[in-house]
Symmetry: C2
Subunit: 411 residues, 2 copies
């Protein structure tokens, strides 16, 4: 259950419940229903009741702040027919937070120490709102703060260990990152492995051209769960080998960034349609500064020539979206930045600019490693300008990663 | 109601319901409850029933695809006690979509033409899944496809006009983009204007340091609604004048990009911690290629010196995150790209790298217009590495926009 007028009225997107659903699935607990309601005690209480009608464990996020809007404590007290009482333990947590900040406690924050009677306090180390847990007659309610960073920290520190202790039997998980296979074809080829109730069960999410696949096996005996996962993972590997570029849950930039850092391989980028997305994605990786050289956004032909040294005649004979141009872009970026590796992207993001030979979604990708260039021309689904750009950035990172995995660019 | 195993299990975040809630609010319709359920007929039907228990209008997204998983048509038929029948009209839409693509229709797609009896078909021009509407006894169910691009197109084309025709009286809307005021202080200063039931009602969403504010007035008489909106807008303008950088719903890159294009003012960027985010954000604007010169990501000090000509002694005496360095970065980018305007960003995104004088979240921003430089040092909330980077990119765009709005850089 996610609570908040900002969620129900669309000012913010609720990312908490999907994060929690993934964490719970990792513990072998399947979310069966999500409810979102506004900052209103009756609505919130009704949402909690409807959630308990579907499952004995309910996690509620939001509504724990210091303002009149924040109704979770009242709603929980109502659902469990308890009084609200002032919790010294919760109050100590609020006091400690303000003391760490060296600021005075606003009077309103006293409300945050009001909890349903006999609720167990969940300490919040990253914010003011204390969480709480109520367990009664086989039902467990966990109330966590709404800000995602606070919610995640509290779940990880205080909730996850508690749930883990209750999970029956063993759970084993394997993850794969896949590129080059459309989702529909993947679903077809994976067939019954993805059916509900399958064990191991395969789950899959798609983002910007990359399929992230998780395989989860459950068994009463933990060793048996591991064996089930290993056996299905081996079958999976055999079936999808040519598309898998990484085993594990990490996104491509993390795997690529880790390899570049480990090999001390300096890297640059030359981006046209993605206009900085690939560099920004790579720069998410902490520690990347050790290897990330200058990168260049060269949107216009003039910029490609002046900054990267792409030749006018290459542009004229092959067009800006061509394997020849991205080859020169990649080499130019590497040279200009003094980097051993570089990637280059030039494509037609749309909505305009497509031609019969090169429709919207056409993207030329180039990579250079120690002066050796590889290029490809791909067609991404022309769904939106943003989806083409995000997909192109992702693909370029995968291209460079695949080369490093083949052993190019050793330390 | 959003349907899909990928949503309930956390593989994807549901962005459809919050988009729809905003659109509905624009029509004066308040969302009261959101439910998310998996790809299971009984769960989906139960979610529809619970939604109708809260409101007479229910919009369901997802579950209209061609696979066995897609249960919306079955659930809707069950809730309204109707048979599923093959709809020739829906089938013609599916056929037309494949014909436009020039590909054969897979046998599975025939399922998509099965609709509850007497449902009205909503044509899908951007995908295969037909939507449908069922109206009975004061209840209206609208079933839209799950992919956001398809859902949005169908809502805009087929649903919005239908709902608009039913909205009683007049609705007037004014929007403002605000920067420089923390959300909590905004909420304090806006006070009772934001209270539930206020008319005009003020809604606010915050993203990466920018507050997007919408003011909605309702009245039986449309002229009266306009007058109410104008009067509150005037008060709002007076109270928040120094923070407003744009009146309208457009995001900063669209306003800035539009001005740059209108003035034929060429632009470049030099980015350190944001590593391409600002350029990528600006490049979202269609037509930006006319003015977007080369831009540079210079993460390391070496790159700042070699590519942008930042002086070693400036870096040594003031540090990379300083007004002096971003001034040289902005001028260097403009010179290197041959652009009249440029922005520069250098900051500490964290988690490491903070110092007592320059903690995580410190960002130096520089702008250059026709050789004149302005700089600022700001402190963003150090929530996450990504939030600091996204906020810094946004702020840099706002800084340049404010200069253009003051009349700098005429065509």
């Amino acid at each position: 259950v996610a609570l908040g007028d900002e969620l129900i009225l669309g000012a913010s997107v609720d990312t908490n419940t999907s994060w929690l659903a993934r964490e719970l699935l990792g513990l072998g607990i399947e979310n069966t229903r999500t409810l979102v309601a506004g900052d209103d005690e009756a609505d919130a209480a009704e949402a909690l009741r409807l959630a308990f009608a579907a499952a004995p464990l309910v996690i509620v996020t939001g509504g724990l702040g210091p303002t009149e809007d924040d109704q979770t404590r009242h709603a929980a007290a109502r659902v469990f027919s308890r009084e609200l009482v002032f919790s010294d333990e919760a109050w100590q947590g609020v006091v400690a937070w303000f003391e760490r900040r060296g600021t005075e406690i606003p009077a309103a924050n006293r409300r945050q120490a009001l909890l349903p009677a006999r609720a167990q306090v969940l300490r919040n180390l990253t914010g003011t709102a204390p969480g709480f847990a109520i367990e009664e007659a086989g039902r467990l309610l966990l109330a966590l703060p709404g800000p995602p960073a606070e919610m995640r920290a509290m779940f990880t520190d205080a909730v996850r260990p508690r749930l883990l202790a209750r999970v029956q039997g063993g759970l084993a998980q394997r993850s794969f990152q896949i590129q080059g296979l459309p989702e529909a074809r993947f679903a077809e080829e994976v067939g019954e492995w993805m059916a509900r109730g399958a064990n191991p069960l395969i789950g899959c999410s798609v983002k910007d051209g990359i399929l992230s696949v998780t395989l989860r096996a459950r068994a009463a005996d933990p060793d048996r769960a591991q064996a089930l996962a290993d056996s299905r993972a081996a079958q999976f590997r055999e079936r999808f080998q040519r598309y898998i570029f990484h085993e594990g849950p990490e996104p491509v930039e993390e795997v690529l960034g880790g390899l570049l850092i480990a090999r001390r391989l300096s890297v640059s980028a030359a981006e046209s349609c993605t206009a900085g997305l690939a560099a920004a994605q790579l720069a998410r990786v902490p520690g990347i500064s050790a290897v990330l050289g200058a990168t260049f956004v060269t949107y216009s032909n003039a910029a490609k020539m002046e900054v990267l040294g792409v030749r006018a005649e290459t542009l004229a004979s092959h067009g800006a979206v061509s394997e020849q141009v991205v080859a020169e872009m990649a080499l130019g970026a590497a040279r200009r930045a003094g980097a051993r590796a570089a990637l280059a992207i030039s494509g037609i993001a749309g909505p305009g600019g497509g031609t019969p030979e090169k429709p919207v979604g056409s993207v030329a990708l180039g990579t250079a490693v120690d002066g050796r260039v590889e290029t490809r021309l791909v067609r991404l689904p022309p769904t939106t300008r943003e989806s083409v750009r995000a997909g192109a950035a992702n693909l370029a990172l995968v291209e460079l990663l695949r080369r490093l995995l083949r052993g190019e660019g050793p330390a």
